[in-house]
Symmetry: C2
Subunit: 304 residues, 2 copies
């Protein structure tokens, strides 16, 4: 039976899944072996330690996406240039060898695009997008959002990724929350989401026109006791996500926006989009496994 | 002879000047005694240690502006609400006592304003604005910018401060430069300003529509070696200052914009404004002493 090993190798985490031939998750593992913690040359061993017994036999196929293909990763894999569909992506897989395993191991290239002379890049999100399209049949055109430390806004047309833009939303939230003057009036823990404070933040982001300005309102609303301290992390989260939405140009043809990621984040984006009158659909993190499985299946088809 | 003691007491620095009756600076001192480093109750002593011998005699007048009037300062002085002219400001001075001195000591109130239910505040910049208007005769209406950790954009009409907005520009620059992923591809020192890279950053800020997006270009331009590393701090500075300018609504009636502050910062703002076709005039940090002197002189006039 042709089981498949799917690996999502990010900066801080390594996640792996053993998938059945028809794409079901048989077992999942995750380890604090993100690429930033792996020494040069240590990637085969890190994979072996995480899921070595899944990689036995020369018939086994292992597909890796994410930062493992970056300059600091297992091997630097050149970006695939947009517009790019699924065939371009699979044609540019980088095949690598592990001294610990006879398995066929490939790294998925990231994508690059360019706007007015400025490049943009992604590694891993492209797999999630193809996975999400497959999980949500009929969603092969429109806007996709992949929220996170560096959120990606992606334009898809007839199954091809036409271009995208990166927003440092999650990282700026963490910086402001941890190191800025705003930290002085915020409680130590974020606590549960307060939907009212969050949507007030989304609205404030739109009216103030820049995060540089809206951010300071987190301080003054606290100083003047206009909002209780425990809701202010939700307000700040609304400011950041609202700023990301403010910078998009939506028009009537956009239709429903597809938000792909963890439930905690996609629920916030859905709430923010709905507060602006924009419909959203959510796809969970299983899009990664689906995308990696699609790649593996296309290879098995080519090498029967 | 009625010499005056002028004190600019910020979060990290205490600066003091002995001014002649006609406003000339006779002597200046600065000390690492910003309000954040002074223990509660320790303010009279901190002032005494810095310039105690200037404060001898009950005829001596000492005017203090800045964070000394904040909740963490010598005494919390209520904000003066905008619109506010020079008379409102001087009427709301807070008179305080020092056990070390018989001098008459006053703290200048900060200003507050409100936009759509969100308050904004300043402490110290109001003194600089009145000082700048006095130094630049005839500049009693228009836009004033006070760049810094928290930049202030101020609207003045016929000598009255009508309203203002705070931008966390300097603080966000420091956060991105020190703690974000961008720090990994930036050189350890900022180095001298590279005007081309700076104005490219200003232009990029305008076209990208949000700092959340433009910031990431600092990384990709480095990754793709489109700009040499040593100019990237200038580029990032251009992104931040350009974002602040992008968020302003300029119109034909704005005329020349007055930028008040240190030469290093005001030159950057002048360059950024000129690159957008907007004329600017610069006023140096001496605006603080001039503003404090104006306040003292108005009191001496009232108490001959």
């Amino acid at each position: 039976m042709n089981e498949i090993v799917a690996v999502d190798w990010g900066s801080s985490m390594l996640r792996a899944a053993l998938l059945s031939e028809d794409g079901r998750v048989l077992e999942e593992r995750s380890a604090q072996r993100g690429i930033l913690s792996v020494p040069a040359g240590g990637f085969p061993e890190a994979l072996q330690l995480t899921c070595g017994e899944w990689l036995q036999g020369d018939q086994r196929l292992c597909i890796i996406s994410g930062m493992a293909g970056s300059r600091q990763g297992w091997r630097e894999v050149p970006y695939c240039a947009c517009p790019a569909g699924f065939p371009e992506l699979t044609r540019q897989l980088a095949w690598i060898e592990s001294p610990f395993s006879a398995a066929r191991i490939a790294i998925v290239p990231g994508l690059s695009c360019e706007h007015h002379g400025v490049p943009d890049v992604m590694r891993g999100e492209e797999v999630q997008i193809f996975g999400a399209m497959s999980l949500r049949g009929g969603t092969d055109s429109g806007r996709f959002v992949l929220p996170g430390t560096h959120s990606k806004w992606v334009r898809v047309e007839q199954g091809r990724i036409m271009g995208f833009a990166t927003f440092m939303t999650g990282e700026l939230y963490a910086l402001l929350r941890t190191y800025s003057i705003l930290a002085r009036t915020l409680p130590p823990d974020d606590g549960p989401l307060d939907a009212d404070a969050f949507t007030r933040g989304v609205a404030q982001a739109r009216s103030s026109g820049s995060l540089l300005r809206s951010a300071f309102s987190t301080r003054t609303l606290s100083l003047f006791q206009r909002q209780p301290p425990h809701v202010m992390p939700s307000y700040l989260s609304g400011l950041l996500i609202g700023e990301e939405l403010r910078a998009q140009q939506f028009d009537a043809t956009d239709g429903t926006i597809t938000v792909v990621g963890s439930q905690q984040l996609t629920l916030r984006y859905e709430l923010a989009l709905l507060s602006l009158g924009l419909p959203a659909r959510r796809v969970g993190a299983e899009a990664t496994w689906r995308g990696l499985w699609l790649i593996a299946r296309s290879l098995l088809g080519n090498h029967p």
